[in-house]
Amino acid sequence: MIHIEIHEQGFEPYTQLTTFQQRDEFIASQCGASALFIGTMRDFNEGDDVQAMRLEHYPAMTQKQLEVITESAVEKHGLNHVLVAHRVGDILPGDPIVLVAVWSAHRNASFDACRWIMEELKHNAPFWKRETLDSGESRWVEKNTAG
């Protein structure tokens, strides 16, 4: 089961996970392993203090890209389930930006797949961050950190 969520408003990763795992298709006893990644807005970037951020995206392509990425991961790693959630709009430090969660029978598949999906998302999903610094200056983030 693959589920992709784009949130225009704040989302709570653990609530989304709990809801996802309550679905009938989710059979916990078949999944020995689950690897998750949660990205949160920091209050610093590239040496500057950051006050707020706006996340823009290309809705139709975001959905398509995340489907391509997650389907590849399921096929490559034999995953049971994948949940990807991403925030767009105006966000503040401490707010969750992204959640990637995968479930598999054994741990290596989960670890590998979660990280791979996250890197693919970072490099290919059409999201853009514009940050407002404490100084009041506003700038587009030009590229993602290597990690």
């Binding site: 990205g39 996340l55 823009e56 995206h57 290309y58 139709a60 392509m61 398509k64 890209q65 991403h86 930006i97 992204v98 996250m118 998302l121 970072k122 490099h123 290919n124 999903a125 059409p126 999201f127 853009w128 961050k129 514009r130 587009w140 983030v141 030009e142 590229k143 993602n144």
Partner: protein, 76 residues
């Protein structure tokens, strides 16, 4: 017609978010860029998608396609 979209810093720089352009036989993504901006050539750091899939500047577009130009992505 071709639907042309600009995102993020390119939306701001070009001052346009989306527009419709008359389709012409053999038209490439790079030609669309030239026609819709004042720039002569498509910069290397501009990404292009045709119908929501990455393509390159020499991709030939079809009537009805949606072509998007945007800077390197910074999500996650």
């Amino acid at each position: 017609m071709i639907k042309v979209l600009f995102f993020a810093s390119l939306r701001e720089q070009t001052g346009q978010s989306n527009l419709s352009v008359e389709w012409q036989e053999g038209m490439t993504a790079a030609q669309l860029w030239q026609q819709t901006t004042d720039s002569s050539t498509l910069p290397d750091n501009v990404l292009v998608a045709c119908n929501q899939e990455y393509c390159d500047s020499e991709t030939v577009v079809n009537d009805g396609d949606e072509v998007a130009f945007f800077p390197p992505v910074t999500g996650g």
